[in-house]
């Protein structure tokens, strides 16, 4: 008897769609993946929606509305494995910058009728709401890492995703260190690898798209950045971008924040 194909679902919360589009970006692998799994729920690519339970749910985006906070529980209940893909789902994403501001005030400024808008005051990662089996980092995710996670989980093994710093990727690619050689501030030493050291390859400092690496030491990095002339405000901004709400980065940014007068 032919084995039944595992059912894959792709869910979206507040995000830019870039991570789920990485699945469509697997051009050559796309039709192979599609033949190995039953794509049961993927509204961006198809109207078909097969009922759960699903063997693997990929979740993109962060939780920003009361409705989404309920919906993620429905997703969890229907999923054997739940994997978050990208910085929004894993750390709240760029929209978590609002966690440090007053959202009600935002809305009254941006929208003429803020009473039409229903939103939560914070953008939170999926793991704050439900149990997550695996978190795939990146803004956006690396498509090869995504393929690795899908095939690992469908084959009942642990995904092989490196959790060392971007610095290791720079060395592997023989990029000259932008911080040492040019004095360019760089988050590489505290950031998880995965992008292929993209920005240092363009002579720019890393800005932390993949979030904090395992056992990162941001205070030591901050001290180094201050020696390069980065101000306290600059430190707050550096740690407060695409992974602003990731614990390690959030704590570091708060340490350097001036108290409100």
């Amino acid at each position: 008897m032919a084995a039944k194909k595992p059912k894959l679902a792709v869910w979206k919360f507040a995000s830019c769609d870039g991570c789920q589009l990485s699945i469509l970006d697997c051009e050559d692998e796309l039709l192979t993946v599609a033949s190995a799994v039953d794509i049961a729920y993927f509204p961006e690519a198809t109207r078909a929606a097969t009922r759960g339970p699903y063997d693997l749910s990929l979740v993109e985006g962060s939780i920003t509305t009361p409705h989404d906070a309920e919906r993620i529980h429905q997703v969890r209940r229907q999923s054997r494995y739940l994997v978050t893909i990208g910085a929004c789902a894993t750390a709240g994403g760029i929209q978590a910058l609002r966690n440090f501001r007053d959202v009600k005030r935002f809305l009254s400024i941006v929208y003429a009728r803020p009473d039409y808008i229903e939103t939560l005051s914070k953008s939170t990662p999926i793991a704050e709401h439900v149990f997550v089996d695996y978190e795939l980092r990146g803004c956006p995710v690396n498509k090869y890492q995504l393929l690795e996670v899908i095939s690992a989980l469908l084959n009942q093994r642990k995904p092989v995703i490196p959790n060392h710093a971007v610095c290791v990727e720079c060395k592997l690619r023989q990029h000259v260190c932008v911080m040492v050689a040019r004095g360019t501030p760089c988050l590489g030493p505290a950031t998880q690898a995965g992008c292929g050291a993209l920005c240092p390859g363009y002579a720019r400092g890393c800005y932390g798209c993949f979030g904090p690496k395992e056992s990162a030491n941001p205070p030591a990095l901050s001290a180094g950045l201050v020696r390069l002339g980065v101000t306290e405000d600059g430190l707050v901004r550096a740690f407060r971008s695409f992974n602003a709400a990731a614990d390690v980065f959030r704590r570091e940014s708060e340490l350097h924040e001036r108290p409100n007068p």
Binding site: K12, F13, A14, S15, C16, D17, G18, C19, Q20, L21, S22, L24, D25, E27, L30, L31, A34, I39, P43, E44, A45, T46, R47, A48, A49, T50, G61, T64, T65, H67, D68, R71, Q74, I94, Q95, L97, R98, R101, V103, F106, L107, I109, V110, Y111, A112, R113, Y116, I117, S123, C139, P140, L198, C199, Y202, R204, Y207, C209, R237, S241, F242
Partner: protein
């Protein structure tokens, strides 16, 4: 009794939306609404960030057309620095932009819309996707995948990453083009061009099957807005924003980007995060205008490349100088893809394209900057004000799907009037209502950050809000 039909979650669009159709006492369509149900708040949380971070931050608005946001953003930043960027950087930015149009249009046509067009609006929804397309029309699906890949690879060659490129910076770009990358893209180009040609030929041949759709898909009289070159020809990276009426008369030319607010007003509507821009001289809500492929071809005199111009002439011969049907967005998109491929070839053959002079540097020399570019879905405006240190004090972003908001609403109403039977919810009707929305190729991530609701749900509500009938598809 009046009723409301809600299509809760339009699939195969980038971002998520909900459609409500309101019926009157006789079961006729009274009104239609298009809702977007999430908000991310970019315009506010960027306050206080230095202007040069804006390209990287705003590229995160959208994973489908990050390049458009990057370009509108760096153009606004160029104005804040008050620099004229080096000519080779202009060319390289244009090249990147064309590559993104090709990939985005390929995504829209082959992955999102072709399943409806080729597998039949009334077909089995479970098979109506790119994988189903691959089974039924393997060559076409392969072409679609290859064309998108061409655009994505060119972006990767230029900017290092597909989804959120980091190569475009205020003042230009931060690395010249390498000869081997130019040769690589030039080498792939003929295949992309033949795919675009063949798809156009195929689409033209299939047009007769869609007479009904052409007639009823947002076949409406609206104004159009698009960038054009100084010569009035098609332009996507830089140019003058022009408005034309439904008969092709020029209504306005926005000479300086900073003047856009004289012509465009923004309104908020109930139940949606998507703002509704309108043509100011006419006012809200009558000031409907459309942007995107249909509008661009209507506003432009010519494309400016030989094959695309020949296609444009044929298109106009069939549908007139100012076609109106939203269905023709698909046709226009294919012509634009061909144009972009031709234009990429011209750009790659420019003698200066490998020049190392690709970046101007400067500090803050103006406290305000506006960048306007065409995104694949239409006009995109980034407007920033900064303080003396260059920190953003205020930002306004007007996104393509926003410009189309009022027109999408009107189109949904028109389709619903034609295909909706007040008592019956058929698969074909649901698909057509959704397909008209997809024809605009709306990007709701861009416009607000929407996405992801439970599976399609249609609800019949009484005037009092009581649920009379609910269907989950």
């Amino acid at each position: 009794m009046s009723r409301t039909l809600t299509i809760d979650h339009v699939t195969r669009i980038e971002g998520h939306a909900k459609i409500t159709v309101e019926l009157d006492d006789e079961g006729r369509v009274a009104d239609a609404r298009f809702h977007v149900t999430q908000v991310r708040g970019f315009e506010k949380f960027v306050e206080g960030r230095p202007y040069y971070e804006m390209p990287a931050i705003t590229a995160r608005i959208c994973g489908i057309c990050p390049v458009s946001h990057l370009l509108a953003s760096v153009k606004a930043c160029d104005e804040i620095m008050a620099v004229r960027i080096p000519e080779p950087a202009q060319l390289l930015r244009q090249l990147l932009h064309c590559a993104q149009f090709v990939q985005s249009h390929a995504l829209s046509f082959f992955y999102l819309s072709a399943p409806d067009l080729l597998l039949g609006m009334d077909g089995d929804p479970a098979a109506r996707n790119v994988v189903g397309l691959a089974q039924k029309h393997p060559e076409l699906a392969r072409d679609g995948i290859a064309l998108r890949k061409f655009g994505q690879q060119a972006i990767e060659r230029l900017a290092g990453e597909r989804v959120h490129p980091s190569w475009t910076v205020p003042g230009g770009v931060n690395k010249p083009l390498a000869a081997e990358d130019r040769d690589f893209i030039l080498g792939e180009l003929p295949i992309a061009r033949s795919i675009a040609r063949r798809t156009l030929k195929f689409f033209r041949g299939a047009l007769d099957r869609y007479r009904d759709e052409i007639e009823h898909f947002g076949n409406q009289s609206t104004r159009y807005a698009a960038l054009t070159g100084v010569d009035g020809n098609f332009a996507i990276y830089d140019g003058l924003l022009r408005f034309k009426d439904a008969d092709g008369n020029l209504l306005a030319t926005v000479k300086r980007p900073a003047d856009y607010a004289r012509w465009i007003g923004e309104a908020t509507m109930p139940g949606t995060y998507l703002k509704a821009p309108y043509f100011k001289p006419v006012g809200y809500p009558a000031g409907i205008y459309r942007v995107g492929p249909l509008a661009r071809l209507n506003v432009a005199e010519q494309c400016g490349t030989p094959e695309a111009d020949a296609e444009l002439a044929e298109y106009r011969q069939r549908f007139g100088r100012m076609p109106r049907s939203a269905f023709l967005f698909h046709y226009a998109r294919l012509i634009e893809a061909l144009y972009c491929i031709e234009r990429m070839e011209q750009l790659l053959e420019e003698p200066d394209i490998l020049s190392p002079h690709v970046r101007a540097t400067a500090g803050v020399n103006a406290l305000e900057g506006v960048g306007i570019a065409e995104a694949p879905r239409g006009v995109l405006i980034h407007h920033y004000r900064v303080d003396e240190q260059g920190a953003i004090r205020w930002a306004n972003l007007i996104i393509a799907t926003g410009h189309n908001n009022l027109a999408i609403r009107q189109s949904v109403k028109q389709v619903a009037e034609r295909y909706l039977d007040g008592r019956q919810l058929t698969e074909g009707m649901l698909n057509r209502v959704q397909a008209v929305v997809r024809a605009f190729d709306p990007c709701l991530s861009c416009s607000t950050h929407a996405l992801g609701l439970p599976p399609l749900e249609i609800r019949l509500l009484s005037a009092a809000g009581e649920v009379l009938h609910a269907v989950k598809v």
